[in-house]
Subunit: 196 residues, 2 copies
C-alpha cells in the first residue's frame, strides 16, 4: 500500500514551507493548502503550529548532525578518512537538501530556546579521538580548527549560495558542478593544513 496518510501530507507540507520561509513567515493555512487538506487537520493531528514545527526541526537536526557524529568519534577511522567521509556525506546530503543548513543555522540563532528543548540528545562533536590522532602524527593544526575548517569548506557554499549567485561569483547552472568539483579538492586542501 503506497497510500500517503493525511498526517504525512501535512508534515511534508510543513517541512517544505518551514524550510523555505522559516517559522514566523509560514502560516498554518498555507501548510494546510500545500498539503491539500484543511486547516483543522493540522491542529487535530499535531495540536499546534509550534508542535508541528518541533517535529520538523527535530528531523532536520537529526539529518544534519547524523552525517557527522558517528564518524568523528570512531578511533578506528583514520584522519584522512574522517575528513573525506564527512565531506562526502555532507556534500551528498546537502545537494539533496540545499536549504537544510541555512534553515537549521538560522532557526538555531533565532530560536535558541526552542532548540534547547529539542536537543537534549545532541551528541557532543567528539574531539578526543581526533585530538589523539593529531598528537600521534605531530600535526600542525588543532582538532577544533580541523573540524571547523572541514565543515566550513563543505557547508558554507550552500549557506552562501544566494550571495554567490547574486554576486555573479557562481552561476546557478554551474552550482552542482562547482560543489561536486570541490568535494574532491577539500580533502586535499585540509590535508595540506595538517602538515608543515
Amino acid at each position: 500500500m503506497e497510500t500517503i496518510t493525511t498526517e504525512q501530507k501535512i508534515i511534508r507540507a510543513a517541512d517544505k514551507l518551514f524550510t523555505q520561509k522559516g517559522y514566523a513567515a509560514t502560516k498554518t493555512r498555507d501548510i494546510a493548502e500545500e498539503a491539500g487538506t484543511n486547516l483543522a487537520l493540522l491542529n487535530y493531528y499535531f495540536g499546534s503550529k509550534e508542535n508541528l514545527y518541533k517535529k520538523v526541526v527535530q528531523e532536520k537536526l537529526r539529518m544534519l548532525l547524523g552525517a557527522m557524529g558517528p564518524v568523528l568519534s570512531d578511533e578506528n577511522i583514520s584522519l584522512e578518512d574522517k575528513i573525506s567521509s564527512i565531506t562526502e556525506n555532507y556534500t551528498t546530503l546537502l545537494l539533496e537538501n540545499e536549504e537544510l543548513p541555512i534553515f537549521i543555522l538560522n532557526e538555531l540563532s533565532v530560536n535558541r530556546k526552542l532548540f534547547e528543548e529539542i536537543t537534549q540528545n545532541t551528541r557532543q562533536i567528539a574531539q578526543p579521538a581526533i585530538e589523539k590522532q593529531l598528537k600521534e602524527r605531530k600535526m600542525e593544526i588543532s582538532a577544533k580548527d580541523l573540524v571547523v575548517n572541514t565543515l566550513s569548506l563543505t557547508m558554507f557554499p550552500f549557506v552562501a549560495k544566494p550571495l554567490f549567485i547574486s554576486s555573479g561569483l557562481v552561476k546557478e547552472e554551474e552550482f552542482v558542478e562547482f560543489i561536486t568539483g570541490r568535494k574532491e579538492k577539500i580533502i586535499g586542501w585540509i590535508m595540506k593544513t595538517t602538515k608543515k
Copy 2:
C-alpha cells in the same frame, strides 16, 4: 549636539530586532517599544514595516559587501595581501556584528525578491584580477575556490556559532579568542592550498 532623533531611535531598534529575529517574527509594536516611541511614528517616518526593513537590509548588505569588493578587484594588491586583508576586515567587522552574516544569508535565502530590488548596485565579486594573479604564479587553485575558501574559513564560524556552542565544540567564553586565533592562521592555510 548629541541628540538622537526619533527617526534614528526607530531605525536602531528595527536594526536590532530584525537582525535578531528576522522580518516576519519582528512586530511593529516591538520596534516601537524598543525605540521607546509610539507605534504610529514608525509609519509616519518610514511608511511601512517593509520600507523600514529595506532601509536596514540595505545598510547591512553594504557593510557585508563593503569589506570585500574594493580589495579583490585591485590588481596592485598581492594575493597574500588580498587574503589577509579580507580575513582581517571580516574578522573585525563580524566580531562587532556577530549576527550580521546569518541575518543577511538567511534573509537573502528567504526573501530573494526583496533583495533583488535592493541589490541593483551589488558589485560583482571581481575575479579577473585574481585569476590573472593566479595564472602568473602557476598556482594550483581556481580564483573561485580561493575566494570561496577564504570566505568560508572566515565567515562560517560566525554563521555556525550557535551550532558549535550547543554541540560543545567551542565554548561561549572562548569564542572571541577562538576567532582571533584563527585570523592569524587562515592566511597560512589558504596559502598552502595555492602551492603544490
